[in-house]
Symmetry: D3
Amino acid sequence: MDLMAEKEPILSSFLYASILAHDCLEQALAFVLANRLQNPTLLATQLMDIFSNVMMHDRDIQRSIRLDVQAFIDRDPSCLSYSSALLYLKGYHSLQSYRVAHALWKQGRNVLALALQSRISEVFGVDIHPAAKIGDGILLDHGTGVVIGETAVVGNRVSLMHGVTLGGTGKETGDRHPKVGDLALLGACVTVLGNIKIGEGAMIAAGSLVLKHVPPHSMVAGTPAQVIGSIDEQDPSLTMNHDATKEFFKHLAVSFRDGRSK
Amino acid sequence: MDLMAEKEPILSSFLYASILAHDCLEQALAFVLANRLQNPTLLATQLMDIFSNVMMHDRDIQRSIRLDVQAFIDRDPSCLSYSSALLYLKGYHSLQSYRVAHALWKQGRNVLALALQSRISEVFGVDIHPAAKIGDGILLDHGTGVVIGETAVVGNRVSLMHGVTLGGTGKETGDRHPKVGDLALLGACVTVLGNIKIGEGAMIAAGSLVLKHVPPHSMVAGTPAQVIGSIDEQDPSLTMNHDATKEFFKHLAVSFRDGRSK
Amino acid sequence: MDLMAEKEPILSSFLYASILAHDCLEQALAFVLANRLQNPTLLATQLMDIFSNVMMHDRDIQRSIRLDVQAFIDRDPSCLSYSSALLYLKGYHSLQSYRVAHALWKQGRNVLALALQSRISEVFGVDIHPAAKIGDGILLDHGTGVVIGETAVVGNRVSLMHGVTLGGTGKETGDRHPKVGDLALLGACVTVLGNIKIGEGAMIAAGSLVLKHVPPHSMVAGTPAQVIGSIDEQDPSLTMNHDATKEFFKHLAVSFRDGRSK
Amino acid sequence: MDLMAEKEPILSSFLYASILAHDCLEQALAFVLANRLQNPTLLATQLMDIFSNVMMHDRDIQRSIRLDVQAFIDRDPSCLSYSSALLYLKGYHSLQSYRVAHALWKQGRNVLALALQSRISEVFGVDIHPAAKIGDGILLDHGTGVVIGETAVVGNRVSLMHGVTLGGTGKETGDRHPKVGDLALLGACVTVLGNIKIGEGAMIAAGSLVLKHVPPHSMVAGTPAQVIGSIDEQDPSLTMNHDATKEFFKHLAVSFRDGRSK
Amino acid sequence: MDLMAEKEPILSSFLYASILAHDCLEQALAFVLANRLQNPTLLATQLMDIFSNVMMHDRDIQRSIRLDVQAFIDRDPSCLSYSSALLYLKGYHSLQSYRVAHALWKQGRNVLALALQSRISEVFGVDIHPAAKIGDGILLDHGTGVVIGETAVVGNRVSLMHGVTLGGTGKETGDRHPKVGDLALLGACVTVLGNIKIGEGAMIAAGSLVLKHVPPHSMVAGTPAQVIGSIDEQDPSLTMNHDATKEFFKHLAVSFRDGRSK
Amino acid sequence: MDLMAEKEPILSSFLYASILAHDCLEQALAFVLANRLQNPTLLATQLMDIFSNVMMHDRDIQRSIRLDVQAFIDRDPSCLSYSSALLYLKGYHSLQSYRVAHALWKQGRNVLALALQSRISEVFGVDIHPAAKIGDGILLDHGTGVVIGETAVVGNRVSLMHGVTLGGTGKETGDRHPKVGDLALLGACVTVLGNIKIGEGAMIAAGSLVLKHVPPHSMVAGTPAQVIGSIDEQDPSLTMNHDATKEFFKHLAVSFRDGRSK
């Protein structure tokens, strides 16, 4: 941090004010988020109060914001330092802002939680209902276009690329959104619809449309998505081989052809 | 509203200023949109003047903003009240802002209309050309990533999920964008390209790429999209069963397999 | 410009201040971008200094911003004038802002470059790593949802629709993103993953997921994308026939069926 | 106005938005004042609503804002046009803002009236208690440093230079501030203290400290102020000869010497 | 407070955020001052951090902000409640902001202290050097135009009207500003120049120019000021009879005439 | 500067952006003033353009801003460095802003010049008509409450304390304001009215009201001001003994008594 500040004087005060001036990660994060989310009807000082109060008293959030920042360091190769995640990553910011909105929702402060959801969606392009439940150690990469519905549940150590939708179906209220197991990996622009299960450690290829349960440790792809293989490794969300090694591509190609020529 | 204000004092002034302080929906909406869309080159007070002037004198918009808010109440199960749509839903806000830009376009104030389009795209991530024609009773859910081109036409009571594109093709000017019939339902991340017709009451599955006409009351899916069935109910956009009941999924799976093994 | 200002007095000062008051395109663009990207931790005056300094001294950028604006005029039929691209097109703005961030990155000012990337992603919904290399004469249409990774390379005269991803795979650092040849055309919501080549003059249909090399002058489509034909014309990115003439659609349908029934 | 706008394009939009875009003086003034007085806890849009509502329904204010602007035109030789008073004169702006605060005070909205007083004092350096009563046709020149207390009364067609204090004495509540008669002229930095009368058409020389009643049509000067002559003309506030013609100065000098050598 | 909030919904959120949302006076004051003093180069969130840190750890300031607010309640008849002083009185705000600047100066943070002085002078029109020493229980009424120099010392329970100057003389550095004793009362626009003593319980009439020591419990007036009587009451600053009872005026008139005719 | 930045990280970016990032004093000053004077209708970026253009092309201003900053260093003992004058002194800022307004006035851009005057008066409490002529090497200390009229002329190396008025008289247009000679010193709250001459090297005691010509190298005091002695030193504005050494006070006292008992 000191090095960063020295090397870029234009930003040194912001770096200082954001990080070095605060005793703990919670205060630093409250400062950064308050300044990103402020608008004329939500003062930065009010937001800093709200974020700081929630984060200083909620053990769960304190653990989550640490495990999440570690997830970015471990799995996003262009994220080179804790401070760059804290200061600049939209995915990380939108996730932690949601966590505060979720805590407020649980306290019964629904109006404020919805106001935050609305503002997070405007600023980051990430629309997570404050009632959704999301575990720890999440990588929410880039973030733009992510939509997560009211009754969705996401387990621990999951990786979600940009453009992922965990959407409902129909206009009934009630439990209507996906449940994503631990360690699953959802590629860019994956759409999962309805109260279905994505099994633990499953990998959903980018651009897939998932409309039925996905078995644990399986690979799925396509629109609609179909099982195209299984995952040897335990945790696709951590290796982030979500995409396109040659092997995987061949696998995909074969699976598709075979699946369809039956 | 009074209850909301009582329960969340941090927001009570905003709730009051937005809604209770105004005599009519038009003024309330002008207030909310002006504060969301303002930036250093478009003052909130100027925007409030512009929005208010258009909305107080245009009967069509007055009807649309009422039918649209009803569409959110009827079809979005997480939208619990008129005031929450009015205050917080990005889809609703971007749609009404477009309606003002469209009215200005029709008055020949093209420069201002394009400035608004630009700002709406920046703030909401929704890019609707002010010359596009969109009917009443529209649900524009979440909104992020929606792109609607200059010569597109959307009928009444249509539902458009986030990420929908009604795009052109080629670089000629002229009528080059889709025409969507009444009561159609376009799922998340659907891309429709070219001057083609989406028939009345058609349902396009999430993630589809539509490149040719879609018959009325048909279900289509896939990239490129193909007809996979017909809709018994009259109005998929209202039931919002756009996605993934078990039945629908089976249907999809079978249609695909059959369609391809021919 | 003078006509625009005369016809829309509400915007005339902005039009004047943006364009007529400046001696050169660089200053005008620095003014416009500084006002769009400013926030409480990046003053408009600082940004104007930074953008102006980079653009006044970097011949490459001076050429790029001219060739890019020409690309919008030539290929986007709803872009009617140079000034409207300069003032209002989010795709053009995000591309030129990236160009400045890239120049700063090359000067070793990585912290500032990443701060800009973060802000560009927030304001425009366009997330381009400042280390990525992008040629001249680029059309980045609409922009929302575009993600371009650290080691991606994009040639000259390429057209990129909204929602395009040039993403990495796995969590290793190193050269891991796509290389897009000159004159290629990537349709809306195309996802390309891994260190693969998109050949010169190739056309990727909207919504495709590309996981392996694409030959020059070929048409590809689908998830995963497959070759469905070849391009007679030399430069799909310029004709922008990316989508859905009837011929193209038949082509697609046949290719798919044939490809799969083999 | 049109000429002004043509000659200074940087300001033309502001001139347009302030004046030409509005149907009546009240709306124009509400627009200008809202933009000058706004801060993070008083939105410009809220202020425009408040000012507009008061001014559109209060006949007294409608008359005052017209007679006051005429006073500036008639008596301030550097005020060359109605629009320059309306757009730029701090004295005029602080006076009209007080008028709105006074109307709110009479409606029983004391908290809002005091909030406005506080903001007017911050922005303009003019501190007028909203309960004070001030007549029509007032010239409040420059304004900086003016303080007018809770029970002060100012008649019609009075001229008040900058730095004038109409202050109380002691800490009792009740009627404790000066009463200034019609057509009086109070020079720069005049201090009047206590519930005393400044007679109709009196002239108080700059820098005087007034602690007792001043007869109508008399000239007073000094600290404490003493009567140094009488006014032939009926209306010093209109001729604005408040200061320093040679005659006046001789008069002053003689009066002082005589008065003191008695 | 609750009553105020109920009666004025436009301000209720500000009232809530300022006062009810905070556990202690220090936090509430930090919130209010941060929002008044913020500008593009001093973020509200930074200021809130700075003010809060100083005020939560400095016992002297904690005592001063309580004794000062009491001084407004006791001596300013138009100040009706603690909350109105806290929320709206410019004199109180500028005094407490100075107290923070003074604490920072004592900590050796001179640059930040001077930056605050500059901003306080801009926002409130009150220019107090952060090195000046000011006691407790101070009434700084209205505030506009007050200037207090680097080596000035002000005792406890002093009342200072607007426009008071405690200025230096000459261009030498060193101890060159006035020392004001406890319980003194300085009327509006009093100028005191040089390293001279204003005795305990002295009363300086409005508009006086004081250039030599003033004995304790004496009344002085005029330019230059001369002793015109003595004060029976122990504490003119508390009774605030600073001005213009008939008795006082006669006293003044007689003293002047006598003093000058000798 | 570097030391300041190191010692106060909260301000280091502002210090850097203001001073170190710019090649010349003109650019640095344009940056600082633009950020202080900006408001919703005068963008910081527009102001920076305007200030920078004027200052980079006007030799007179380039000399003035250097001689003025030297005046602060030489004559204001609490001004410890060039950078603190440049960054924080309201008197210096208002003076340089006036210089730009004056240059614009001479170019015939009267509307913009008056807009600047209005904004300078609001932000700094200093109201200088852009047509007034002010020489070089001016100390404008503190600034609050200064008013300088349209036809006023101020010579070189003059010192003006806060609250100084150079006002007109009567309502005729034409040459009606004071002419102040080189090297004169006007104390705090001095009021000079009418087209009269303040002779070279004259000294006006604080709080004086000046209504007739003042001979060169004389001392004047009182309301109305009378000559009370002569100045041995050549340049009172430079020694700044404007006030209250014991000698001066005795002088004053004797002069007054004598003058009046004659």
